[in-house]
Symmetry: D2
Subunit: 370 residues, 4 copies
């Protein structure tokens, strides 16, 4: 063949950002340079100095709580922050490295706290997120409450786990990003940055959102106690995608994929997959299968003007609000992740969690077909 070589081309993101994964090789061929998602390490530039410790309400875990506070202060030499109601309990124990804060300082807390230790269940982690708002420091969560997806660390090994966070336990193989003459050696711990959804309630005719919520698991629009099905219009970037007649519709994060989503028949999605799940709840059409959308979608769920009933929206199972005909919620990926420190690594932790919580793919003994 004696033809001229083919033309050169760009692959560009339509919003002008660079396409980091998709590359055009010198030969002009298209390639993926690397996976778009990957295991991540948290590496301290300077040693962390202040840690916040949260405890489930009640006196049940008081002993473990005090052990952890002592280890953090005496062994690791850290300053510790606790919630005011917990601080009261500690008076007389003479732990001078423990401090608390005033309510009006709550919104500056994120500037001073290097990481958070949770002693409780998944609910306590949601509480931590609500304390800090958008700028949430890394969290380590110990299994001390009911079975949870996010409480990956055994309390029995708490000293090793806490030491690992401060000093790191995994060497970075190679890194072109960080110069080796830094003060700290390049050791870190695996961390998962969990996506949240930013949800706005829009009232019909309004020009601004009436309220805004961030959810870690899911936002659900449903008929609640109304006798009739919700009639919900689904838009993506203001384009009508479908009309749904169902008990409800859910938008979930990968983290939430193993919560209510799995009860509604959705698939389980690893938290490293950058995606938003659209899952119907008891749809009255046989062919409304769950769909999994990229993280750049901007979705709107609107109560159809001809719906027979209002609907109810819930954020992570709480904060129920009624929506009237014509009202809607707008949902997009939040820029503010929930960073959770891993036990082993992201994949091992996740498969462990779905086996622990669902006996995923397990069976006492296999039934022979014949």
């Amino acid at each position: 063949v004696q033809w001229p070589p083919k033309s050169e081309l760009y692959i560009l993101r339509s919003d002008g950002h660079s396409c980091t994964r998709e590359t055009v090789q010198p030969s002009g061929n298209l390639q993926f340079a690397c996976p778009s998602s990957q295991q991540q390490l948290l590496v301290w530039k300077t040693r962390p100095r202040r840690v916040m410790v949260l405890k489930k309400l009640g006196d049940e875990l008081l002993e473990e709580y005090i052990d952890v506070l002592r280890f953090l202060g005496e062994d690791l030499g850290l300053s510790v922050v606790v919630e005011p109601h917990d601080y009261a309990v500690l008076s007389g124990l003479c732990m001078k490295w423990v401090d608390t804060y005033a309510e009006h300082d709550l919104d500056q807390l994120h500037s001073f706290v290097d990481f958070i230790v949770c002693l409780g269940g998944d609910g306590l982690l949601l509480h931590a997120a609500s304390l800090f708002g958008p700028a949430l420091p890394p969290i380590i969560s110990f299994k001390l409450g009911s079975l949870g997806f996010l409480t990956t660390h055994n309390y029995a090994d708490y000293q090793r786990h806490l030491h690992n966070i401060v000093y790191g336990c995994r060497e970075l193989e190679s890194c072109q990003l960080v110069s080796s003459d830094d003060e700290m050696p390049l050791r870190g711990v695996h961390i998962t940055l969990r996506m949240r959804l930013c949800c706005e309630i829009w009232r019909q005719g309004g020009t601004a959102p009436a309220e805004t919520f961030e959810v870690l698991n899911e936002v659900v629009l449903s008929r609640g106690a109304n006798p009739y099905l919700s009639k919900i219009e689904v838009y993506e970037h203001d384009q009508l995608i479908t009309k749904v007649q169902a008990d409800g519709v859910m938008l979930a994060t990968p983290t939430g994929s193993t919560a209510y989503n799995v009860a509604a028949g959705g698939s389980m999605v690893h938290p490293s997959v950058p995606a938003i799940l659209l899952t119907p709840i008891c749809p009255h059409s046989l062919n409304f299968r769950p769909v999994i959308l990229p993280d750049y979608v901007e979705l709107e769920l609107r109560i159809s003007p001809d719906a027979r009933c209002p609907a109810v929206v819930q954020f992570d199972g709480r904060d129920g609000r009624e929506l009237q005909q014509g009202d809607s919620i707008r949902v997009r990926m939040s820029p503010n992740p929930v960073p959770t420190i891993n036990n082993a690594d992201q994949t091992t932790d996740w498969f462990g969690a779905i086996q622990r919580c669902f006996q995923w793919s397990e069976r006492v003994e296999q039934l022979p077909i014949d």
Copy 2:
């Protein structure tokens, strides 16, 4: 509060690459800089000059074929390449801009062809992928065969669609990547880079893969016509994840999520989501739900040494091979995408396809509950 500010930190990929999405702000807070996936544009640096046109076998589409060849050569001034067997049919039609190639030049074709036009169904697109191997130019696929997911363009508008590819039809809003004094204006067409899976067959005791395949839809390991269930071990990065007793197990791409995967009960995944789907086929455990994994996983499906039968592996529904006890397939994301040109954009095209092919979420008329 009069505390010192918190420590600075890095978020690093454990393989040393940069974390392009996850950023540490000057304040030390963690944020997602942008969605990890995004709409993409194909923008030519220099005008394309050579196009390949593929046609479904048989004379059925001969008229449309010749119309397209004429338009490409006479109106758009492009050189056209066709397959040898099609070239024979054109003799006497005096289209001097049409050329063909010798079999032994097949592996250089990718260096000369700017884009590909398919007149047929989804099967023809798979044929194009097999002609070119890893380095596949962008493809536009016209709906002229049976209903398909990938044939997004109406033939009736072929002139407009082909003109748009060459000259672009969407302005890039802003771009810090490409200087504006380039020869070409910054106009392009939406394009989807579809992930493929790289699949290796490993025979027990072997030190290298026995065979390698790339699939666009899915790889399936199943019992085939054997009376007994497959007993399959699933590994991720050499770590045992689960043992499955089922008719089979499938690993699918997002593109393949709407093919065999949906028949097996899997969710539909948008092709911009960088993920690999692990879907069981008729599992004998009630709690083996489909899971969706990040694109960095490296999976191995191994026939359990104590399986009662061998198994069969198929690649995109073809190339069946028998696997004995201890044999396995190793699967990871391929660096070589299948680039398909969009009609509207990625999201509109995809929702259109699932409605066209599955009547997704539609119902003739809603049944009132009472």
Copy 3:
């Protein structure tokens, strides 16, 4: 072999009734004598004389209503009963064969009405059932409202259909039950006797049911608008079967299997199958699959004493009542069927309905796998 013959045996129902289907042959072998369910005919012993005609609320169907009244009175010579509010509309039309009734005669209506004609949708049929209570005459339901499962007859052919009910249209092949010298020839129409469920609300500590309902579709116990899952104990004949944590639990009839049940993931059950469906709604256990139980079960759904919230029970989507911890509903097959006249026969009508309402098993065009 020179052995003595085996012993004789009985197969008896444990409640002392005869086993009509299961027989012991003279040889001592066990056999099913016949299917337990079968196509049924309605055959009049004496010609029917009085028919009730029900119409959907509003004036929309007034013209069809009057046409039907005229045909029944003038052509078929029947007396017609209508609801009082419809009777008022007819004044001045001089149809002397039309009569109405006083409210206090409502509970005797079933002694005088031979059959019922419904002009409307499935909702009107439920209204008819509520008018008559337990003793419901056969109903013919014309498709004049929204799409329904029970409205099997086309209005266009109303004269033929109504004639067929009165005079019969299908000869009985042979019958050992009815002597041939009866006044009427043995012709009839196919009829389906649809099972209802008898549902009692029991308040904790009560010695008698607080309320009783009969449902044609389903009874649903759910969390309603409560934020927490229902925790429901399921008993059969006072024996604990399972504890369920879910959005709710439904008990449905075969008729109801294609209503809410199918939205919750249940199977479609033909109305001739004598069964009760136990279907979870969004269960939080992956392995709570729907189960289909025989019609002799006596089920109780009890709100667990340690449930975090009360629950809501609904009967055919209406009559919501709140249940507190310890309250329960007891459900068993009702002796009072809803008899609906068939268009063709039971199986043809049913497959027709699931195709009409769900496009069951249909697809615009099949997607080739490759």
Copy 4:
């Protein structure tokens, strides 16, 4: 109201049999007289004298086998029949009450054997069914192999269970069928008469079935190892119901509902429900939901003349046969049940089995939603 009473009517089965469940009351109202299915007792008219004992192949259970043979002969005074290959093993043990049979007497065995004892798993029970053909005596099956649905009796209590079969353990409350002056008191054991399906293979153009099989679990028509989907036409009483494009289609009994059917997504059906299950395997239409049909249906699954491949039919997972385009299988309820003796009663045994085999509705610990 001063109207004449309504007309009298019959409800007749269209095949001339009586309608045993549906009754017309003297008032003319329709009622169900009783549930159509019910718990059943096996009651001996004369004491059983001869029992057959089957054992799983191999020496593994030899000790238990001999214990059972001794108890039956010495304690219960029964004659025992064993298979010839087992008889050989017993020589020298001097159990004179044990006998065997010649191969050519196999088809008379059912006339002499009062009941069968199985020591093994579900597979052994299928073996018993194949030994006896249509006229199968009642079977008691002890749990001594892998986990099974039909092996309901614990071996530890074998003496009590075997005594109960011979002497009965449950009094019949009242019975209008059996006079009380019979030789035997009215005591029995619960028994389940399990439906089988009679399946005929019809070759295109044939005038008689090519082969006939009886299945206890299911008959499956599938693509086997063929690359293309099966295209299967489904007929009921020679009327086309639907065309299916799928990996396969299954017809299952209620007994089989918890075997392959549940893996394909079907519901679990109690064995007292007289029904036949039509379940698709990986259908390529989103709205082909499983359906449950009455026991009087006569189904035909025909390979479509325009199918791209032949198909494979399997009976209880065995006896694979290839079907060409135009060939079909015809399936209806068999008159010959498989009678299995219950441990507790039908409902307790069944819920026990689905919990034992599937952990139905169980979960280690419930995950709180928040």
